[in-house]
C-alpha cells in the first residue's frame, strides 16, 4: 500500500489532472441533477404503520394543516370595516390556486345552526356586510350564542376573528408565503391588524430559514477554519491543501448523490459539517508529522520526507477513515430514508477524504515544493510542554480518573433529563414574529396546533349510538378540562349537541347528546338537507364507523402532544368495551412519531457503531483491549454531550440527534492516531517516554485539529437560527471532550494496561 502511494509521488500532475476531471464530472452532475427536497412528506417512512394510518385518516377526513390568519380590531370585530376585511380575505384565499375553495373557514363561510319559531335553520352569519348598528348587534348575538363558532372563529373578547386556509403539504413555497404576507399587509388598516400563523407557515419558514442561515454562516466558518488552520500549520500551501481535501470530498459526496438522483434533504446539509470536522483531521495529522520530521531531519529531501510521512501515517489514516465510514454506514439501520442517505454519503465523503489525504495531499506537496517551516522557539517549548503535560497527566492519574468518573456520573444523571422535541416552533427565537404571532393566537383561541384522534369501530353506524357519542363527549370535555394546553376540541358531538339544543327552543338543558339513536340519525339527516354536508365528512366517515376528534393545542412541542395523548388514552378501555379502537393522525402526531424514529435509529446506530469500532480496532491492533480503550473517546463524548443537552435543556431533535455521529467520527480519529503513535514509540520500551512522545506528536496534531474545528464552529453561535447555534455549540463541545478524553483518560488507560509493553516482555 505505502509502496503504491510513494510510487504515485512521481506523477503529481497526473493525479491532479485525473481528480480534476472526476470532480468536474461530479460538478456537472450536481448542476444538472441536484435538487432540494422540500416536501416534508418525502422524509417520512411512508410504510411505517403510524404513517400509513395517518395518511389514510387524512384522506378520510380531509385533514390538512391550516394557515391561520387572525384579524384583529381592538374595539371589536362587529363593524363594517372588520367584517369587510374578513369577507375580502376569505374570498381572496378561496381564489388562490394553492387553496381549495371548501378548505377556507371563517366567520364568513361558517354555518350557523339556529332554532327558529317553527324549526331549524342553517344560515351563514353574514353574506352582505351588515349596515345598521341593529344588524351588527344581531350578528354579535348570533355569534355569542353559537359555541361552534364563539371561541373558535371569534375570540371570547370579540376582538379577534380567525380565517383558516387549509392547504396540502406540498404547496408551500417562499413565494406563496410572501404572497400571503403581502395580502395581509395590504389589507391592514389603522384599526385592523392582521396576523399570519399556523403549521404550514412555521414548517415552511423553518425549511427555508435553516439552510439560508447556513449559506450565510458556512463561508464565515470556513474563513475562520482557514485562518486558524494557517496559524497552526503556518503555511498557506498546507492550509489550501487541507481545505482542498474537505472541499473535494464534499463535492464528491454531493456529486455522487446527484449522479444516483437522490435529492438533497435537510439532513444532507449536515454532510459538509461532518466532512469539515472529520476531513481536516487527516491533513493536520499528515502535515504535523511532516513538519516534525523535517525539523528533526532538516537535511532530508522533500520527497523522502513525504515518503516517510506516508510510510508512518498511511495506516492510521486508513484505519480512522474506514472505521469512521463504517460508523456512518451503520445509519443504514435507520427507518428514515434521509438518514440512511446521510450515513451512506457521509461515509463516501469520508473515504474520499481519505483518498485525497493520501494521494492529492502528497501530490500537492510535490508540486508546490512545500518549504520547511522554520521552527520557532515557542514550538520547541511546545514539545517540552508536551512532555510535561504527559508527565503531569500520568502523575495525577487518580485525579484524572476521579474527575472523569464524576463528570460521567453527572452526565448520566443529565441524560435522564434529555427530552425529545419534535416542535418546529421551538426552533425559532422566543421574540421572533412567528413565535409572537403564534402566542397571540393561542391566547385568543383554542390553539394553533391540532391533534387528531381517530376512533374506529368495527360496526357501521356506531357513531350514531347515544352511548358512544356520550362517551366521546365526556372524553372531549375531560381532556380539555384536564390540560390547560388543550384549548378546545371539536367533533360530530358538537353538531349533535347544537342541533338538539336548537330543536328544543335553544334550551341549555338540551345542549347534549339525546338518548335515542333515531333522533341522532334524523338530526344528522336534517343537517345534511339544510347545511353543507361537506363539513360533516371532516368529522365522521360515510358509514358512521370512523370518527375524527380534533383537539386544538397551544403548542406543537412533544410534551404538550404527549400529555394530551396520555389523557385521551385513559379512555381506551371504555372505548374498547364498545368495540372501538383509538388511533392518531395529523402532522403534529406524525412529527412526533418521526422524531422518535430518528432517535431510535440514532441510538441503535450509536450502539452498533460503537460495537463495530471496538471490533475493528481490536482487529487492527490484534488486541480486543485496544478496541475497548480506543472506544473511550467515543463513549465519553457521546455520554457527556447527551449529559450537556440534558442539563442545559437543549432538546433532542433531528439535528442534535445526528450529532452523536460526529462523536463517533472525531472520537475514532483521535483514538486511532494516538494509539498508533503510542504503539510506534512503545518499541523503545519506556512507558513515560512513550507517553511523552505521543503527546508531543499525536497530541499536538489532535490539539490543532480540535482548535481548528472548535474555532470554526463557534462562529455558528452568532447564527440567527437557534438550531444552528445549538449545532455550533455541540460540535465544539464534542470536539473538546474528544480531545480532552483522548489525552487524559485514554492515555492513562493505555499506560495502565501495559498492552504494548507486555508484548515486548513476552518477546
Amino acid at each position: 500500500m505505502n509502496k503504491i502511494l510513494i510510487g504515485l509521488l512521481k506523477y503529481p500532475y497526473w493525479i491532479f489532472g485525473i481528480t480534476l476531471v472526476i470532480t468536474i464530472v461530479f460538478l456537472s452532475q450536481m448542476a444538472q441533477n441536484s435538487r432540494m427536497e422540500t416536501n416534508l412528506d418525502e422524509y417520512m417512512p411512508q410504510e411505517h404503520p403510524a404513517f400509513v394510518y395517518s395518511n389514510q385518516a387524512e384522506n378520510w377526513f380531509n385533514i390538512k394543516d391550516g394557515i391561520i390568519v387572525a384579524v384583529r380590531n381592538e374595539k371589536n370585530i362587529y363593524n363594517e370595516e372588520t367584517l369587510t376585511i374578513i369577507k375580502k380575505l376569505t374570498k381572496t384565499f378561496q381564489k388562490m390556486p394553492q387553496v381549495e375553495k371548501d378548505d377556507v373557514t371563517s366567520l364568513y363561510t361558517a354555518d350557523n345552526i339556529i332554532g327558529t319559531e317553527d324549526g331549524m335553520d342553517v344560515k351563514s352569519f353574514y353574506s352582505s356586510i351588515p349596515a345598521s348598528q341593529e344588524e351588527l348587534d344581531d350578528l354579535r348575538k348570533k355569534v355569542k350564542a353559537n359555541k361552534m363558532v364563539y371561541g373558535r372563529l371569534v375570540s371570547e373578547d370579540e376582538t379577534v376573528s380567525m380565517i383558516i386556509a387549509a392547504i396540502n403539504d406540498d404547496v408551500f413555497t417562499q413565494e406563496f408565503y410572501e404572497e400571503i404576507l403581502s395580502i395581509a399587509r395590504e389589507t391592514e388598516t389603522e384599526n385592523v391588524s392582521i396576523y399570519v400563523a399556523g403549521r404550514p407557515i412555521v414548517e415552511g419558514t423553518m425549511a427555508l430559514l435553516g439552510p439560508a442561515d447556513m449559506k450565510k454562516m458556512v463561508p464565515i466558518v470556513l474563513l475562520v477554519i482557514t485562518i486558524v488552520l494557517y496559524l497552526t500549520l503556518r503555511s498557506i500551501r498546507s492550509t489550501i491543501l487541507t481545505l482542498l481535501v474537505v472541499l473535494l470530498s464534499t463535492i464528491w459526496a454531493f456529486g455522487l448523490m446527484a449522479l444516483v438522483s437522490i435529492p438533497i434533504y435537510a439532513v444532507s446539509t449536515m454532510i459538509p459539517v461532518m466532512l469539515i470536522a472529520i476531513g481536516v483531521a487527516d491533513g493536520i495529522h499528515l502535515f504535523s508529522h511532516l513538519q516534525l520530521f523535517r525539523w528533526k531531519n532538516p537535511e532530508v529531501e522533500l520527497k523522502d520526507a513525504v515518503s516517510d510521512m506516508l510510510n508512518k501515517m498511511w495506516k492510521p489514516v486508513v484505519m480512522t477513515s474506514v472505521t469512521t465510514a463504517v460508523g456512518f454506514i451503520s445509519l443504514l439501520t435507520s427507518q428514515v430514508y434521509p438518514i440512511k442517505y446521510f450515513g451512506l454519503f457521509t461515509a463516501f465523503g469520508v473515504l474520499s477524504a481519505m483518498l485525497f489525504s493520501l494521494v492529492i495531499l502528497p501530490a500537492g506537496i510535490m508540486i508546490f515544493k512545500l518549504p520547511a517551516a522554520k521552527q520557532r522557539k515557542a514550538e520547541k517549548n511546545d514539545i517540552n510542554s508536551g512532555f510535561s503535560i504527559a508527565e503531569k497527566i500520568l502523575k495525577y492519574k487518580s485525579i484524572s480518573i476521579l474527575i472523569t468518573v464524576i463528570i460521567i456520573a453527572v452526565s448520566i444523571a443529565g441524560i435522564g433529563k434529555v427530552w425529545i422535541n419534535s416542535s418546529f416552533l421551538d426552533k425559532f427565537e422566543k421574540d421572533s414574529d412567528i413565535v409572537l404571532t403564534d402566542a397571540f393566537i393561542n391566547q385568543h383561541f383554542g390553539g394553533t396546533s391540532t391533534l387528531n384522534l381517530i376512533l374506529d369501530s368495527k360496526e357501521p353506524g356506531a357513531f350514531k349510538k347515544p352511548e358512544v357519542l356520550r362517551l366521546v363527549n365526556r372524553m372531549q370535555t375531560e381532556v380539555v378540562a384536564a390540560n390547560p394546553q388543550v384549548g378546545n376540541s371539536f367533533s360530530l358531538t358538537d353538531y349533535v349537541n347544537r342541533m338538539n339544543k336548537v330543536m328544543h327552543a335553544d334550551s341549555a338543558e338540551y345542549d347534549n347528546i339525546p338518548g335515542n339513536q333515531e333522533l341522532i340519525a334524523q338530526y344528522i339527516l336534517l343537517y345534511e338537507m339544510s347545511g353543507d354536508p361537506e363539513n360533516l365528512w371532516k368529522v365522521v366517515d360515510y358509514n358512521y364507523q370512523k370518527l375524527n376528534v380534533n383537539f386544538q393545542l397551544k403548542s406543537d412541542n412533544s410534551k404538550t402532544i404527549n400529555s394530551a395523548i396520555n389523557k385521551v388514552e385513559t379512555f381506551k378501555d371504555d372505548f374498547q368495551k364498545l368495540g372501538i379502537d383509538m388511533n392518531y393522525a395529523g402532522s403534529g402526531y406524525t412529527g412526533l412519531v418521526f422524531t422518535d424514529l430518528i432517535l431510535e435509529g440514532q441510538i441503535m446506530s450509536l450502539v452498533l457503531s460503537l460495537f463495530i469500532v471496538i471490533m475493528l480496532l481490536g482487529l487492527m491492533f490484534k488486541n480486543i483491549w485496544i478496541g475497548l480503550i480506543g472506544s473511550i473517546p467515543i463513549s465519553i463524548t457521546a455520554i457527556i454531550s447527551f449529559g450537556i443537552m440534558g442539563w442545559s435543556g437543549i432538546p433532542l431533535n433531528t439535528t442534535t440527534a445526528l450529532l452523536s455521529s460526529i462523536a463517533i467520527g472525531i472520537g475514532i480519529d483521535f483514538a486511532v492516531h494516538f494509539i498508533e503513535q503510542y504503539k510506534l514509540y512503545s518499541t523503545r520500551g519506556d512507558k513515560l517516554l512513550t507517553a511523552e512522545k505521543t503527546i508531543s506528536h499525536s497530541g499536538r496534531a489532535i490539539l490543532f485539529n480540535a482548535v481548528v474545528v472548535i474555532a470554526g464552529f463557534l462562529v455558528l453561535l452568532f447564527s440567527v437560527f437557534p438550531p444552528n447555534r445549538e449545532l455550533g455549540a455541540l460540535v465544539s463541545a464534542n470536539m473538546f471532550i474528544s480531545f480532552a478524553g483522548t489525552l487524559t483518560i485514554m492515555l492513562i488507560m493505555l499506560n495502565k494496561s501495559n498492552i504494548f509493553f507486555k508484548n515486548k516482555k513476552d518477546n
Partner: protein
C-alpha cells in the same frame, strides 16, 4: 351543371347529417325550449334509490318514496324515507315556485321528535341531501335564464344529439356554463357538463336509462359525477306512475306525520 347540383346536394346532406329534414336549422334557444316544453305529466309517484359514493369508494344508499305534482306556478313534492332504518318515516316536503327569486318552502318531519319543522335553504345552489345534485339541477331551469349556442351535432351513444352551450344571463349563477347533449327526436338531455366559476369542469350528468311510461318519456336512471371531488350520486327510479291523479291534500304537514 346537373352533376354539380347533385354533388352540392350530397355534400349538404352529409353536413346536415342525415335524418334531419327541418327546412331551417334550429337555434340553441329553440332546442332548449323544446327540452323545457317536453311533456312530463302532471304528477308522478316513484320509488327513488339514491346511492352516494365518495372518493374512497364508500357507499350510502337511501330509499325514498316520492310524490310530485305540478300546480303550474308551483311544484309540490313530498318524500318519505324507507331506509336506512334509523330515518324511516322521516318525511320531507318541498314547494318550489316558478317565480324568480322566491325561495322554496321546506318542511321536515322527524318521527323521533314527533315534530314537523320548517327548514330553509338559502339558495338553489345548495346540494340536495348531500348528493351531487343541487336543488337547481333537479328543477327545470327556464330557457330564457341562459343564452344558448348550438356548438355542433354529434352522435352520443346511439342517439343523434345537438350539443348546446348555455351561459347564464345573470352573473351570480353557480355555473359559468353548461354543455348539454340533447337527443334530437326525444328532446331529452342525455349528458350535461357543468363548469364552475373558474371555467373548470365540475360535474358530469349522464342519463343511463329512460322509459316510456304512459306515453311520456321518463328518465329513470341518472348519474351525476363531481369530477373535482371524485364524488358520485346515482338516482334510480322504480315503480314510476304518471298522472295517477295525486290529490292536493297529499302535500300537507298532516300527511307528512302519518308516514307510509
Amino acid at each position: 351543371m346537373k352533376t354539380l347540383r347533385l354533388i352540392t346536394f350530397l355534400v349538404a346532406l352529409l353536413v346536415v347529417n342525415t335524418n334531419e329534414f327541418y327546412p331551417q336549422k334550429l337555434t340553441g334557444f329553440q332546442i332548449m325550449e323544446k327540452v323545457y316544453d317536453r311533456p312530463e305529466g302532471n304528477d308522478m309517484t316513484s320509488d327513488l334509490t339514491m346511492t352516494l359514493k365518495n372518493d374512497s369508494g364508500d357507499e350510502r344508499v337511501r330509499k325514498i318514496k316520492q310524490f310530485t305534482r305540478d300546480f303550474g306556478t308551483m311544484e309540490k313534492k313530498i318524500m318519505f324515507f324507507v331506509s336506512p332504518a334509523d330515518v324511516k318515516n322521516t318525511s320531507f316536503m318541498n314547494w318550489s315556485y316558478s317565480r324568480q327569486g322566491q325561495d322554496d318552502d321546506q318542511w321536515i318531519y322527524l318521527p323521533a321528535l314527533k315534530k314537523t319543522k320548517r327548514i330553509s335553504s338559502e339558495s338553489k345552489s345548495d346540494y340536495f341531501m348531500g348528493s351531487d345534485f343541487t336543488y337547481d339541477d333537479l328543477g327545470d331551469r327556464q330557457p330564457n335564464e341562459d343564452s344558448h349556442k348550438l356548438l355542433k351535432e354529434e352522435k352520443y351513444n346511439s342517439d343523434d344529439c345537438y350539443v348546446i352551450e348555455s351561459k347564464p344571463e345573470q352573473l351570480d349563477y353557480m355555473y359559468s356554463r353548461t354543455v348539454s347533449w340533447v337527443a334530437k327526436d326525444k328532446w331529452i338531455v342525455l349528458k350535461k357538463e357543468f363548469y364552475d366559476e373558474d371555467g373548470d369542469l365540475l360535474k358530469t350528468l349522464t342519463v343511463k336509462k329512460f322509459e316510456n311510461i304512459s306515453g311520456i318519456l321518463v328518465v329513470t336512471h341518472t348519474e351525476m359525477k363531481n369530477v373535482q371531488k371524485n364524488h358520485q350520486t346515482i338516482m334510480d327510479l322504480k315503480n314510476v306512475k304518471i298522472d295517477s291523479g295525486i290529490e292536493d291534500s297529499k302535500f300537507t304537514e298532516r300527511i307528512m306525520t302519518r308516514g307510509l
